[in-house]
């Protein structure tokens, strides 16, 4: 499979577009159909394509288990951080309106939702990739 020029060329072309599309889906989450879960999965799909085309070792060099771990921590921390920010601003957990009122910036809640969606997207992407590593990588170096 490593020898297949067609697959490698096509995926080299396709991966950036898949990733842009994933980002679009994530950012679209605040105002329409879209969101972190879907976007994260699409983003992870680009990694699967890379693994198929260039081999596991190649991809692992770019993003290893430690990177995955940090990405998922950052993703969920973003989500929870905004939740706690609302607590600090005298609202309930994840009450965007409270942050908006406290900081006095109009339409801030849309940005906050996007941030939360981005956090979810990062976490979902990281866990999807770690699942692929774990199952396809014969369990070596798994955590």
């Amino acid at each position: 499979m490593m020898e297949n020029v067609v697959i490698r060329t096509v995926s080299r072309l396709a991966v950036p577009f898949i990733q842009i599309f994933a980002l679009y889906v994530i950012v679209h989450g605040a105002s329409g159909a879209g969101g972190g879960f879907q976007g994260g999965v699409v983003f992870a799909a680009s990694f699967i394509l890379m693994i198929i085309a260039f081999g596991m070792a190649n991809v692992r060099r770019r993003i290893d288990n430690r990177g995955i771990m940090w990405l998922s921590v950052i993703g969920i921390a973003t989500y929870a951080g905004i939740g706690f920010l609302a607590l600090l601003m005298a609202g309930n957990f994840l009450e965007y309106a409270a942050i908006e009122a406290a900081l006095g910036i109009p339409h801030l809640h849309g940005i906050l939702i996007d941030l939360v969606e981005a956090g979810i997207g990062i976490a979902v992407m990281a866990s999807m990739v770690s699942i692929i590593y774990d199952i396809a990588g014969n369990g070596e170096e798994s955590s």
């Binding site: 706690f84 309930n92 957990f93 009450e95």
Partner: protein, 502 residues
């Protein structure tokens, strides 16, 4: 707006952060993992006591996530019923995490220890979430979080058989979760809401619909698999017997109890007693099956050669007692059932801790290898005897009190033959508990083909961090039984609440 108002959400949110922290800290030094988990669970426990006192004092607490009012948003509800369960499960979780450290070092490969604590934390979080949520779909999500954590934890043992046990549990657990999801879907179709309180208000109008009946059956069967109610218990013995000791303690006490809680919650507060007794009479059937469970579980327990497996079948039998309360469905029986939820968690936790301790010292859980154990491990055997007495129902232990209330409740409902089954169950429990006592206290260590090495390693008790929670739980069995009045202050309102807030 003080911090106490936000405790419900912090009970779930902080542990999730903590589990991430454990994961991150584990990359630098494995030794950081345990303290973080310990501190988090202990503070959860303290918070749960504070919140129970607040509930008993000032009534039910509602917390609206994102400040969206219930029909739209998800709400967390803590009333006297789940406040009581919350304290009970966090007490057990705290005891287990103290116990876990040394046991895990012995039974789990070093490179899996970080994941173990992460998953342990997630499992406890999922169960706490299941307990305090007021939204039925949220309940499903937390159920799956805890289940996935449990599947993985069961497979974390060094024994390869644990993979098979975990896989079987996964298959049955996923079918159960699928049924629960279907049931929730049917409820949503019929009423258009997912909030439990609102469901309870809107359901009576459509009690005659087939949609509601099928929703009820799906939920009932799904949760029956989850609690291992007798004919659906097949995943339980393997899962309990093959997982690492600390995991066994956690899932047999905390997880089983939360599943029972969810079943009670759905049967009594979502579908009220009016439905389960009058519109769709299932209590008679539950009662019948629970008596079968009590007897069959105990008989199967007697037939086992392995200590952990014996205790696992004993759990099947004891779940029957709790379901018995559900089947009788009057106030006294429900008080007994709720007491038994706590009591069984405490005593079964203690018994499994003893089993874990024996595995820690001797590397085996076969009953025949334990001859004369009381000479080398006197404290463990004493704890086993005490918790075992509670399991049989000898006064003044908690096991006696809960069974006493159950029998009283059965008498009040005029169910004499069923009350007799409760007593038969106790007698059978006496037989399987006595088997261990006899082997441990009166077995001759030198009579059998006992090899010298094992006697050497079993020379003394396990480490203090394992001994302390075990002895603590054993003493709690006694204290709860003697000071049962204190517990009744929480259990009484809870039982009333289940029967319709009368």
């Amino acid at each position: 707006m003080t911090i106490i108002n936000h405790v419900p959400v912090l009970l779930v949110a902080i542990p999730i952060i903590a589990s991430l922290l454990i994961l991150a800290a584990g990359w630098y030094d494995r030794r950081f993992c345990y303290p973080i988990a310990l501190i988090t669970i202990l503070s959860q426990f303290v918070a749960s006591i504070a919140i129970l006192l607040q509930v008993l004092d000032g009534g039910t607490i509602h917390y609206h996530l994102g400040n969206w009012a219930p029909p739209l948003g998800i709400e967390l509800v803590i009333d006297s019923f789940n406040g009581f369960i919350l304290v009970a499960i966090l007490l057990l979780a705290a005891a287990t995490i103290i116990y876990a450290r040394r046991s895990v070092e012995k039974e789990i490969a070093p490179d899996k220890i970080v994941s173990f604590y992460v998953l342990f934390q997630l499992l406890v979080t999922g169960l706490v979430g299941m307990t305090i949520t007021g939204d039925i779909f949220n309940l499903y999500v937390f159920l799956e979080i805890s289940s996935i954590a449990a599947y993985t934890l069961i497979a974390s043992s060094r024994k390869p058989h644990s993979y098979v046990a975990s896989f079987n549990y996964l298959i049955l657990g996923s079918i159960a979760a699928g049924f629960i999801l279907l049931g929730i879907g049917n409820l949503y179709v019929a009423t258009g809401t997912l909030n439990m309180a609102e469901l309870a208000v809107m359901l009576p109008a459509s009690y005659h619909l087939a949609t509601i009946h099928s929703a009820f059956l799906f939920l009932m069967i799904g949760f029956s698999i989850k609690v291992a109610f007798f004919p659906l218990h097949l995943w339980l013995p393997d899962a309990y017997a093959e997982s690492p000791s600390a995991v066994t303690v956690l899932i047999s006490t905390v997880m089983a109890k939360v599943s029972v809680y969810a079943l009670f919650r759905i049967l009594f507060t979502v579908f009220t007693t009016a439905y389960i007794i009058d519109s769709f009479p299932v209590t008679g059937f539950i009662l019948l099956m629970s008596t079968v469970a009590i007897v069959a579980g105990a008989v199967l327990a007697i037939a086992q050669e392995d200590l952990k497996r014996m205790l696992a079948y004993s759990s099947v039998s004891q779940i029957g007692y709790i379901m018995f309360a559900l089947g009788v469905a009057n106030e006294i029986a429900l008080e007994g059932g709720l007491l038994h939820i706590l009591g069984h968690a405490v005593m079964k936790g203690c018994l499994f801790m003893v089993a874990g301790m024996i595995i820690y010292r001797m590397g085996t859980s076969r009953l025949s290898d334990m001859k004369g154990l009381s000479k080398t491990m006197p404290i463990s055997c004493a704890a086993f005897a005490l918790a075992g007495a509670s399991m049989i129902g000898i006064p003044p232990t908690i096991g006696f009190m809960s069974k006493y209330y159950l029998v009283l409740g059965a008498f009040e409902a005029g169910l004499w033959p069923y009350a007799a089954v409760l007593l038969i169950g106790s007698l059978l429990a006496a037989i399987y508990i006595w088997r261990f006592i006899e082997i441990a206290y009166f077995g001759d260590p030198h009579g059998a083909d006992h090899n010298e090495e094992q006697t050497q390693t079993a020379e003394r008790e396990g480490p203090l961090s394992m001994l302390a929670p075990m002895v603590g739980l054993a003493i709690l069995c006694l204290l709860f039984g003697i000071f049962v009045e204190v517990l009744m202050q929480a259990v009484g309102p809870a039982a009333l609440l289940l029967l319709g807030g009368a």
